[in-house]
Symmetry: C2
Subunit: 252 residues, 2 copies
């Protein structure tokens, strides 16, 4: 069993309302790739958010006093601070230049996943929010691709994550459909019959990391890639399953 | 450009003193793979540690009073607690069943990377420590493979890491040689000429995660894999570069 990762470079700039399924299928054709059962399509959060109209013009944002205070503490634009507050359940750490939050989706990360690079400005400053429900976005894309091609694929929405103790971003799964997100070995034993300590393996994040090796995290040139070579998963989950329950969080 | 991940299933049980280079080259032959310039060989920490004689028999460990106390707080074997203390600079969090430490290597993780699954017991309980210097292990393996084959490859020593806010382990790089570990875009701009906010991309961890998709983290059956399809890296680094400087740690 070999695994192949095929980048899909042929996607145009994506705009609000674009049909992502159609654009991705065109890019597959351009890459000489026919999607097949068991393929896992990884799509950058950025183009999903754009297609879903999650671009906000900062000129349209009025910062609250709370946002003004956060902006001062973190050296950010108060309008961006307002968006971070709107998108978050909890500010976990703040320093000049750093705002680590628990996003409304349950994800922990910098700036609530709000992105200001590689987005059209249309005259003013803009910011791109995460999709409202990335698992639903993945499931919808999976269903659309099945309807168009008959291929039963997995879909992952990827984002670049920072981590508290390791430098450099790594791709992670913020939305998933049709794949075994967490491979569960609870109750299993090792090859010597000893109980396994490592019981959960995060396949979705590993797939996202693998895909982003070819996706180019800093440019929009390759916002999608296909992983090929896995047998189709019997058990499937969604990316929301990845969030560690808050009562198990030792680093709030 | 497509990326291929080729598992190397043909490795025997590794024991202290084994010649890992020779075993890996045999496994490559069995997998019909001739290592070539630019290939990245990912090897599980477990077999590197075993070859380097890092297996400790717990019967040989005498716990200190400090270890007895830690064992009680974390519901661990006091001898294992002693090994965790010996291998660590700092205990960051402790709860029954959980010990998060900063390892002497600078890595933050559970139980100082000490592993008790899939290791030979030889009558008693045993534990496997991380390699003394995984970057040096990777560099030595790279040099040996170059001497034996003439191929200028990259080498990554992989381990399974837990993360504070995301469930499920993901492969990460704890040793590296011959690859660009952190891809640095500082000073770069996005496709609209805006300064890039994401300036460092951790390629080594993404490669490790990709390889462990096929390596099978819970059994020792596939302890190595080869990534093929990258152009050889001009700038190289080591895995120690990944550790976020302690003064930037917001979650001590």
């Amino acid at each position: 069993m070999r695994l192949e990762i095929v980048p899909l470079p042929g996607l145009p700039m994506v705009r609000s309302g674009d049909d992502l399924c159609k654009l991705i299928l065109s890019a597959c054709t351009e890459a000489n790739l026919t999607l097949a059962n068991g393929d896992v399509l990884c799509v950058a959060q950025k183009i999903v958010s754009k297609a879903e109209g999650r671009l906000v013009q900062l000129a349209d944002v009025t910062p609250s006093p709370e946002a003004e205070k956060l902006a001062e503490e973190t050296a950010k634009d108060p309008r961006l601070a307002q968006l971070i507050l709107d998108e978050s359940r909890e500010i976990m750490r703040k320093r000049p230049g750093v705002t680590i939050v628990r996003h409304n989706l349950g994800l922990v990360g910098a700036n609530a996943g709000i992105d200001q690079s590689n987005i059209e400005h249309e005259g003013g400053e803009a910011a791109l929010l995460l999709p409202v429900d990335p698992d639903a976005s993945a499931a919808a894309l999976k269903a659309q691709i099945f309807a168009a091609t008959g291929a039963n694929i997995g879909v992952i929405i990827t984002d670049s994550h920072n981590r508290p103790w390791r430098l450099g971003t790594v791709g992670a799964a913020i939305g998933a459909a049709g794949i075994e997100v967490l491979e569960d070995h609870r109750g299993g034993t090792d090859i010597y019959g000893r109980d396994l300590k490592v019981t959960l393996i995060n396949r979705a994040d590993a797939m996202a990391a693998a895909a982003t090796l070819l996706m180019g995290e800093t440019t929009e040139k390759i916002p999608a890639a296909v992983l090929r070579g896995f047998p189709p998963d019997e058990h499937t989950g969604c990316a929301a399953d990845i969030n560690r329950p808050i009562e198990e969080d030792l680093f709030r």
